[in-house]
Amino acid sequence: MSSMKISNVTKNSLEKMFSENKRFDGRKLLDLNNLEIEYNVSKKAEGSARVRLGKTEVIVGVKLGTGEPYPDSPDKGNLMVSADLLPMASPRFESGPPKFNAIELPRVIDRMIRESGMLDLGKLCIKKGERVWTLFIDIYPINDDGSLIDAAGIACIAALKNARLPGLTKDNFPDYDKKTDERLPLSKETYPLSFTFFKLGDKLILHPTREEEESCDSRITWGISKWNKQYMINSCQKGLEVTFNKKEIIGMMDLLPKKYDEIIKLIGEKLNE
């Protein structure tokens, strides 16, 4: 990929295409991209997954350690989500201290996971007030061709589903040589997915390629799950400077459940294996 920014004519062309509900790869504006999930891509992790969304590829690993609980939640495990936007994945990513995107991405996913209730942190307590499990979710893009948040979100859920607790030593430290079959305390009924709408002119698209994403002026990410047969919005983050209007948000609320079901139909079985 090149580091050249999108030119004015290309942006105008995309705007014209979007107004005809067309895209370069043949999709319609709100069509999802091809999605593939692979498990156990890194065996030293307690759980790991690789997700390919179009040409975007993300690897996520879950590591389990033990530590002291936070004083305000003495009987709950800790969850830490972080991302490192490797310069390997895009000419846009630079080494050095994390830029805003590398901070925002894991925070948006952290909120979505936490608020959906898919993970019962209360069951990750080893000894109240003294020792709890600490769950590290680490996100690494391998190739960024757009829609990084949505690809990373799915990879995080998949890696959580894939994870097995390690054994414990007498002093309640993890014993990584002692593998168990015990899974994380995850709800069987629900898991969240994220959908980021990108906006160019007055048109909205899903799962943009890098080129489409760079032509867009605004974006909004929704975390949605299904809880007791009801759809729940768990998180939201509006990015960039351009506004969204009321009609657009209402349209998203009508569309999100359909898109959620569409992905579940595609990968639900794979996620529940």
């Binding site: 580091s3 890194s42 030293k44 690897i59 690993g61 350690g65 000419p91 680490d138 391998i142 190739n143």
Partner: protein, 235 residues
């Protein structure tokens, strides 16, 4: 004869896999594995070098970054460079530099990014193998490929391509790790590091063993580069 837990012969490398074109965004990329150790490498450039004062008006610069993914090891590695990864980045850079000819690209940089997805000993050597393939795949002018692996010594015996179990061997003279990189088809070494106890005579013998091992690695690298181009090619 030395008994290895894995059942390998003394001069037997772990199973290797190699593929190029694994990162579409990069100018060149490759993945290389020795058994359970998996390294992925991307090359970008020649491209603009910032900051400007680092630029060399007589030649391009090769810049290597090696690191472990946090979950590639049992105890989670904190993200970001460590003293270890900085050292390995630099020795890897020097292991690759002798074959890389970027004098035609003044003031630019060729960036090599190496990440270890899964670590089971031999990460720096797997990284060098992947990086050498990625540089070739990126069309960087080179005199040859670099093939790399580690000689080990457990107690008194020399073995090829140490795995994690062997690296931790404690009995007798203990474990010695001797990573080597070599320019394909030559007797010129570009990486030599040693950690342990080894008699001078065994160092000589190690170099003989390296000839055969590097030849095998080279064949894997070569066929990966010839087989497929950008992951979508046809012969």
């Amino acid at each position: 004869m030395v008994k290895r837990i894995s059942g390998r012969k003394a001069d037997e490398l772990r199973e290797m896999t190699a593929k190029v074109g694994v990162i579409p965004n990069a100018d060149g990329s490759a993945i290389f594995s020795f058994g359970e150790t998996i390294a992925i490498a991307a090359v970008y450039g020649p491209r603009q070098l910032h900051p400007q004062h680092m630029q060399d008006p007589s030649s391009g610069i090769l810049r290597v970054n090696y690191d472990l993914l946090s979950f590639s090891v049992s105890d989670r590695k904190r993200p970001g460079p460590s003293r270890r990864s900085r050292e390995i980045s630099k020795v890897t850079e020097m292991a690759l530099k002798p074959v890389v000819d970027i004098s035609e690209f003044p003031n630019t940089v060729v960036d090599v990014q190496i990440y270890i997805i899964q670590a089971d000993a031999g990460t720096r050597t797997a990284g060098i193998n992947a990086a050498s393939m990625a540089l070739a795949h990126a069309g960087i002018p080179m005199k040859g490929l670099i093939s790399s692996f580690a000689i080990g010594k457990i107690d008194k015996d020399l073995i090829v391509d140490v795995d994690k179990y062997e690296e931790d061997y404690k009995e007798g003279e203990g474990a010695t790790d001797f990573p080597i990189a070599k320019i394909s088809g030559t007797e010129n070494y570009t990486l030599l590091q040693l950690d342990g106890k080894m008699q001078p005579e065994l160092v000589k013998k190690s170099l003989d063993m390296a000839d055969k091992a590097c030849e095998e690695i080279y064949e894997i690298q070569k066929s990966a580069l010839k087989e497929i181009i950008n992951g979508d090619g046809e012969k």
